[in-house]
């Protein structure tokens, strides 16, 4: 079975600037995959190369086994891309636009039930006959996603689909995308919201300055790169044995970093033996944001 996406030795230069510096990545069919990185890391450039909107300087990309340059028609049939910007055609309504989009891919009236499904799944039923120009921002975003799905592609790339979208719509979108994933569609997404990637994606690639700096399952990344935190408020001073674990100290609150959960047991024993009373205790689970800051560097902030 061909990989959904196979990226080999991709580099991309814009004059002197090297946007991508050697990307190798394979995404299997049926995966729910996140591509994370700060602004300017090269995520959107990589997506443009997959979609054939730009040409790579070196390297190859295959979508479902089809080279995006040499076999571009089959590759594009297999791919649906949701662009980042809210772009739309002001002349037509939602349903017309979706029919046109499917038509460009050779699909005719036999595809209409699928278009109805997409319209319904994205909550666009009331707006199906509304001109694109008259839709609100959130509705335009839904229509944009619907447009990428119109030809029923097996591989779907969403470039920050939830940027500027309210909570309700975000949840609805994810429910729909998850349903598509369960039906067998491969999903690749970039997002600013790391908790989304953590909740939805089985695997994550983190990019920085045109390179992939981490590629693993979400679980393994959390396990290997994030530390759990135990925050304590104590009646007395912290015993000296525990000083090496201190990550942060604010007033009477101490934050200890833990590599494993079993360390809690040891800490409690040491405190008990030193007769230091615990006034408050809180255990914080590690999240993808910690991993991100850890790997990509916190000076950039957690921008997807």
């Amino acid at each position: 079975m061909a990989a959904a996406i196979e990226i080999t030795g991709i580099t991309k230069r814009f004059g002197e600037f090297e946007a991508l510096r050697g990307i190798d990545l394979q995404i299997e069919q049926g995966e729910f995959f996140a591509l994370l990185g700060p602004n300017g890391a090269g995520k959107s450039t990589l997506i443009s190369l997959m979609a054939g909107l730009q040409q790579a300087t070196t390297g190859h990309i295959r979508i479902m086994g089809h080279d995006v340059q040499r076999d571009y028609q089959r590759a594009r049939h297999a791919l649906g891309v949701v662009p980042q910007e809210l772009v739309f055609d002001p002349f037509f309504n939602v349903r017309e636009m979706l029919r046109f989009q499917a038509g460009y891919f050779g699909r005719g009236p036999e595809n209409d039930p699928w278009i109805d499904e997409v319209i319904e799944g994205l909550g666009l039923t009331d707006k199906a006959h509304t001109n694109m120009r008259k839709l609100s921002g959130g509705m335009k975003r839904r229509a944009l996603i619907a447009q990428a799905l119109a030809h029923k592609p097996p591989v779907i790339v969403l470039d920050e689909p939830t940027a500027g979208v309210d909570v309700e719509l975000r949840q609805m979108l994810w429910a729909f995308i998850q349903q598509l994933n369960q039906q067998g569609h491969t999903i690749i997404l970039t997002t600013h919201y790391l908790e989304e990637a953590e909740a939805l994606c089985q695997r994550v690639a983190m990019m920085k300055q045109g390179r992939i700096v981490a590629l693993d399952t979400t679980r393994a990344l959390l396990k290997n790169h994030a530390t759990k935190q135990l925050s304590l408020r104590l009646a007395g001073a912290l015993p000296t044995q525990l000083l090496s674990l201190v990550k942060q100290q604010q007033g009477d609150e101490v934050i200890l970093g833990l590599s494993e959960l079993t360390q809690v047991e040891t800490i409690l024993r040491v405190l008990r033996e030193a007769k230091v009373e615990i006034q408050d205790m809180q255990l914080q689970e590690a999240d993808l944001e910690d991993v991100f800051l850890n790997l990509v560097g916190n000076q950039q902030g957690a921008q997807g």
């Binding site: 089959r74 772009v87 055609d89 046109f100 989009q101 038509g103 460009y104 891919f105």
Partner: protein, 268 residues
């Protein structure tokens, strides 16, 4: 609303292989048809105003060919001028608009190949140009008798002219990045070439120098050949006009396909 779509009956027949180019063509067609008041009715009105004013002022002063009134002489010129301008406007404005709005990306993501892209934009442009030209003729018939001596030549130059300017429009649409660049193109290239091509006069009425200059203008051949079809008279042989116009069309179509294939300004 379905009757408004002149091609709806093709929807159920087109095979998947031709569906892409057909859909793009249909979209381009509907794009101008939806705003037909602006894209079809207003150029017709403009042409008729020209006809009214010029014929009123010049009818008794200018005689171009024997047995042809100035008003009748003017009709094919105005038809061709409007046909050319509208064929150009259709493809160029559609492309620049989707580029500026950004929605051209949805077309670039599709498997539609270079030739289909070209043919779809071209065909819609030609239809708008031909529609405007034909409408001007039909309305003009209410005021003036215009003979049609060689309908074959009329049709040939109408098709070639609309194709030439439709292609020119695609090139301009790909090249321009902003609306004002497109406006400059239209005002500094298309307008002078049309006005100085013999729409309102026969180039034989010009001094020799300007006659020679006019003969370098490809638009002159489109209008002269077209007019030959109506009156059986022209400033040059229709075969020469045909050769010039067809050569220009081939050259521009080649350039346009090359631009599309390389992804110039669209995939970079």
């Amino acid at each position: 609303m379905k009757w408004l779509n002149p091609f709806f009956w093709l929807d159920d027949i087109v095979t998947p292989r031709w569906r892409g180019v057909y859909t793009l063509f249909k979209k381009e067609l509907l794009r101008f048809w939806r705003v037909a008041f602006q894209t079809v009715a207003s150029p017709i009105l403009t042409a008729l105003l020209y006809l009214l004013i010029f014929s009123h002022v010049l009818e008794s002063h200018v005689k171009v060919y024997d047995q042809v009134s100035y008003t009748a002489f003017l009709v094919p010129g105005l038809m061709m001028m409007s046909l050319l301008q509208n064929a150009f406007a259709n493809s160029s404005s559609s492309l620049i608009q989707s580029k500026v709005m950004g929605n051209i990306v949805f077309l670039l993501l599709t498997p539609i190949n270079t030739l289909s892209f070209f043919v779809a934009f071209l065909a819609a442009s030609m239809i708008r140009g031909l529609l405007v030209g034909l409408s001007i003729y039909l309305v003009a018939l209410c005021f003036v008798t215009v003979p049609t001596v060689y309908p074959g030549w009329i049709l040939a130059f109408a098709l070639l002219g609309s194709a030439l300017l439709g292609t020119f429009g695609i090139i301009a649409g790909i090249w321009a990045d902003k609306f004002d660049q497109m406006a400059a193109f239209q005002n500094f290239v298309i307008m002078p070439l049309t006005f100085l091509s013999g729409v309102f006069y026969s180039i034989h009425s010009l001094p020799p120098f300007w006659q020679a200059v006019s003969q370098l203008n490809p638009f002159f051949y489109m209008i002269d050949g077209f007019r030959y079809g109506f009156f059986g008279h022209g400033d040059v042989s229709p075969w020469l006009s045909l050769g010039v116009v067809a050569s220009f069309l081939l050259a521009l179509a080649w350039l346009c396909l090359k631009m599309l294939k390389s992804g110039y300004k669209l995939r970079s």
